[in-house]
Amino acid sequence: MSSNPSPSNSSRFEGCTLTGALSVLTEVRDAVCIIHGPAGCTHHNFSLLHATLLSNDRLEVPRLLSTRLTENGIIFGGEEALEKTLARALSLSPAPASVFVLSTCIVETIGDDTEAVCAKDRGIPVIAVPTAGFLGGVFETGIRNALSTVASLARPVTETTLSANLVGEKNLEYGVDENAAEIARLLGLLGIGVNLRFVRGIETRDIERLGSAAVNILREPALRPVGEGLERRLGTPYVDSFPAGLAGTCRFLEEVGRICGIDASAAVEEERACQAAMLAGFADIAGSRVRFQSAHPMLRTDPGAVAICTECAEALDLAVVPDGAAIPLPYPAPVGTAGLRRMLHRWRVLIREKKRG
């Protein structure tokens, strides 16, 4: 139990396990997610997912069903309600290609055997995902549980191609597709394609090819347990984070190259030139005075973000001084060179505002 109410502890590090899992599972577009619990658990998450999709200009409706448990379901057990909802899911049109069954606090408390109900053969994959929040998990746990569970649909590996999977993209955040495009661009420098976005905008069938990639690129180090699980099961090595920072982006190319047995030096050269051209675009703010601050007074300063900002400040010859233009530290860290470009655009606006007074 956390007694620290600061936003850094309540954003993605706490929150509901169920929401974390749904942020992954609803991106399997031909699946239906059943939330086994009271209707409110579904309603709340439906609203959140729908609103997030809308604000990312995606007019989609997450396919969620609730077992709508009420007090009687709790007293007498909710497995029958789950059976009924599963039958309803299977009768939907278009028919789902898979069904994920997510548990809630109350059904885990009364000991409903969700897994046993899912184990019956129904012609399509019906997969139980443990997501009861009270067991100590947080949003992040939900993401990990969901990724690991969905991975059970991967076919055994026969051969791998020179390609990569993007693992655990942060589907509820802005810039998800821009970040993916940046990774695809960087991988392209090495001649590596994207095998699968795991999980973003894919279909159940796509998951079968999860094991054919030569490397898994995890969104962030918190996903290491997932990366390790995939390595054990499918033999795919992983890079533990999307690249951040100027040097970090070049290191990323080297690391992916090393894993895939590719000489990355030409790609790194090319990227350095690309970074130089990008920085040249901000020559107008060279010599400006800046200072970095947490995005919110209650957020702790993230040393990784400070390192990235300091690196950019040096590259642009900015003076970091106490009375400089206030620049909020980025969260999450900008991805690749394109992410830095977007970040520097914001810096420029802040520097100009400060100069105008």
Binding site: E71, N72, G77, T109, I110
Partner: protein
Amino acid sequence: MKQIALYGKGGIGKSTTAANLSAALAGEGLDILQIGCDPKHDSTRMLMHGTWIPTVLDLIRERGDENITADDVVYGGFRGVRCVEAGGPEPGIGCAGRGIIATFQLLERLDALKGDVIVYDVLGDVVCGGFAMPMREGYAQEVYLVTSGELMSVYAANNIAKAIARLSRRVRSRCTLGGVICNAKNIEGERELVEEFARRINSRLIAYIPRSRVVQVAELQKQTVVEYAPESDQAAVYQELARTIHRNETTSIPTPLEMDELESFALEFVQV
């Protein structure tokens, strides 16, 4: 209105004691309501001459709680004792504790909790908050622990004393321990052991019910002892218990024993 609850280890004879107590209280001309709070729903069966009455939760499951009246859940038994069985889910599924809570809410709404004495007969151990419901505000003010001299039964009674002590700390709580009833198993020194246990948890032995074959025989006839053998010594014991409980005004907040205290207590009484 006096509300009492009988708690104790499973199989110790709570329901037999409760049914005979209710029957004997009714013999004093009192209006009695007995509520079985156990998914096994066999608390009132002897009062009902072997009939399994529909349980509150069966009715809720079949009809929903909107379409139930007091007459659907309250059944008149021997000497007019009104009988209710809470019931519960099938074994191995659901949440029986929540079932007790739902039952109480429904009985409240139906205004069914009335009479001169209400006897709550609660399952083996206070395994969760639901089964502590009868001890909560507005329900039983007096709890009677039923135990034999067997140590497992004493342990269970001590555990229940913990629940009473916990609940009695609540501001508006009126739950207290009325006393300990020894339902004997014919163990040597049994009465002394239970008496001493009661004393150590800041209570007292309120009745000693000797083991008697007539209890079994009456049960085979699907009757309480009070009905089957009203002139027997055993019936007299239950009548005395009824009178004692009815006029009992001495209750206490129990001081349950710690596990090591319990163990050394056991060693004092059991010859190894």
